[in-house]
């Protein structure tokens, strides 16, 4: 089959690779209909997560059709149109029973790498390096899905392939941030980052009853999507002082809930941006936490900050004093998508949650290298490059 592979730092190629096979009884094989680039892939491409091997198949956000199931699969059937969560979870361990699926004890066959780094190992993830299992990704014609009954969800008839695609990760991640941060009716929510995850966190906050939602970014086309498709307020951080702006629109309190959807390669203008770039390039910090710092400073006393952006290890100038003295709750996670996907698909079927606008550039899988370059450079207003294997 054809697949898009990581071949080195900032290097993607499409090549012929072996077809996947069933390896476990709970596996299914999915024919991929749509698979999308994700902002977190850029950390792999840029070499910030040094556990990629040349030839690894990229991609973790996808949907398709079941073409084969293992003998232990009970619920999924051949021919079903499904969307699959990006994280691999067994459904049986204590973490899965608590619906903390990305923390699954049995989803990552390489626990020694992340246990050494973080003290414990999260679950596995498709196409996201050998640190989280080394599973082949979805930018391919076919993909093996372990624990298929747990991670693959049937797409309702009313939901298009493109809308369903983003339930795999962008929507489920965004929803998790809004819900686990404790968003309540009447809250003011601020979201840093207007990529797919940030937009969907904002939409989820609105569906959870937030009274006002603000999304912060600098790209005009993304800010326009926030206003036109999500229905939230947009703040351009290059045109205003974000902290002052948020104080002004919240009666001086600050947002009740702050969601960071940017991650380890945050951009920031001026001296702070240069400082973080230099420290990261010198390996004096692994991640640039610009948006996270701002979220903590912006949040109201006793408020909640949720970290959705991917971070690898250590950051500098973390405002621990603000966090402690303001009594903040700070939480983060990789996506516990299996917990939220049934509800998300319901909202999608009722037309309350739409995602088609995120797919700004849809192209054949053969053009994956070009797609990633456009996505990385935000060329032509690219929000997401979506690949269609076999087209």
């Amino acid at each position: 089959m054809r697949a898009a592979t990581w071949t080195g730092v900032n290097d993607v190629s499409v090549e012929t690779v072996p077809d996947p096979t069933l390896l476990n009884d709970h596996d299914a094989i999915i024919r991929v209909r749509k698979t999308t680039s994700c902002g977190s892939d850029l950390h792999l491409l840029g070499g910030y997560i040094p556990f990629m091997r040349a030839g690894d198949v990229l991609g973790h956000e996808f949907m398709g059709e079941v073409v084969e199931v293992g003998k232990g699969v009970r619920d999924r059937k051949v021919g079903e149109r499904v969307v699959v969560n990006s994280f691999i979870a067994c459904g049986h361990c204590w973490y899965c029973k608590q619906e903390l699926y990305s923390l699954c004890d049995n989803g990552n066959p390489n626990p020694g790498i992340t246990e050494g780094l973080w003290g414990q190992s999260p679950g596995g993830c498709f196409g996201y390096s050998h640190a989280v299992g080394g599973f082949a990704g979805s930018h391919a014609e076919y993909i093996r899905v372990p624990y298929a009954d747990v991670g693959a969800f049937v797409v309702p008839e009313e939901v298009s392939d493109t809308r369903a695609l983003f339930a795999s990760d962008a929507v489920s991640t965004g929803w998790m941030g809004a819900e686990l941060a404790g968003t309540k009716p009447g809250d003011v929510v601020a979201v840093w980052g207007a990529g797919g995850v940030g937009q969907m966190a904002a939409r989820a906050a609105m569906l959870l009853g937030a009274e006002r939602v603000y999304v912060i970014d600098r790209f005009p086309e993304r800010l326009a999507q926030v206003r036109d498709h999500v229905g939230a307020e947009a703040i351009d951080y290059t045109a205003t002082d974000v902290l002052a702006e948020l104080r002004e629109v919240t009666g001086g309190r600050g947002p009740d809930v702050c969601i960071e959807a940017v991650g380890m390669e945050a951009h920031s203008p001026g001296v702070p941006g240069v400082y973080d770039q230099v420290k990261q390039q010198l390996r004096l910090q692994t991640d640039r936490p610009t948006a996270l710092r701002e979220a903590i400073m912006a949040c109201r006393k006793g408020g909640s900050v949720f970290v959705l952006g991917v971070f690898a290890a250590a950051v500098d100038k973390f405002p621990l004093g603000a966090m402690m003295n303001k009594g903040l709750t700070v939480r983060g996670a990789q996506v516990h998508g299996q917990r939220f996907m049934p509800r998300i698909l319901g909202h999608m079927a009722r037309g309350e949650l739409t995602t088609e606008h995120l797919a700004t550039h849809v192209m054949p899988l053969e053009q994956a290298a070009k797609g990633y370059q456009m996505f990385k450079d935000k060329e032509d207003g690219c929000v997401r490059a979506v690949f269609e294997p076999g087209s």
Binding site: T7, P20, A54, H92, C93, H130
Partner: protein, 156 residues
Amino acid sequence: MPLPKIVSRAAGLAGGAGGKALQQLQHLRLPGAGQSSVTDDPRTAARRWRAVTVLTDPAQLRSSTPAPLAAFGDRLEVRVTQAPGERGAELAARFRGPVTEDEIGDLRAALREAKALAEVGEVLRVDPQPHGHRPATPQGAALEGMTEAAPKEGVL
């Protein structure tokens, strides 16, 4: 020596080094990153109980020693206790006599397999995975060495 042979030899060495590096990293504690249960001296580390919590009735594990642990025979002591808060059973094991780092690695992998078998009924496999061309480079071989060692490393 021809270049491909040099690269291939370097890659071979790097693979072993990758596994070794991962082992060494388990001993390293940097501020803010790095954890280890094996900073003890080798004698103490060898005697320490290594444990996983299994979401199952402890009676199930007590009725017969899980196969991955039974494979060690009389060399292991195995202990099963009730975990607090409805978390299932704490399954622990340690060697009765002197032991090497590699054997401790085998025990870590066996405990993880025993847990997966009890909870899911099978151990998740990852190989063979579809992949594209993998040139023989020292960095690639080091990562492969790390990956091969990963099931046997970690904080257990």
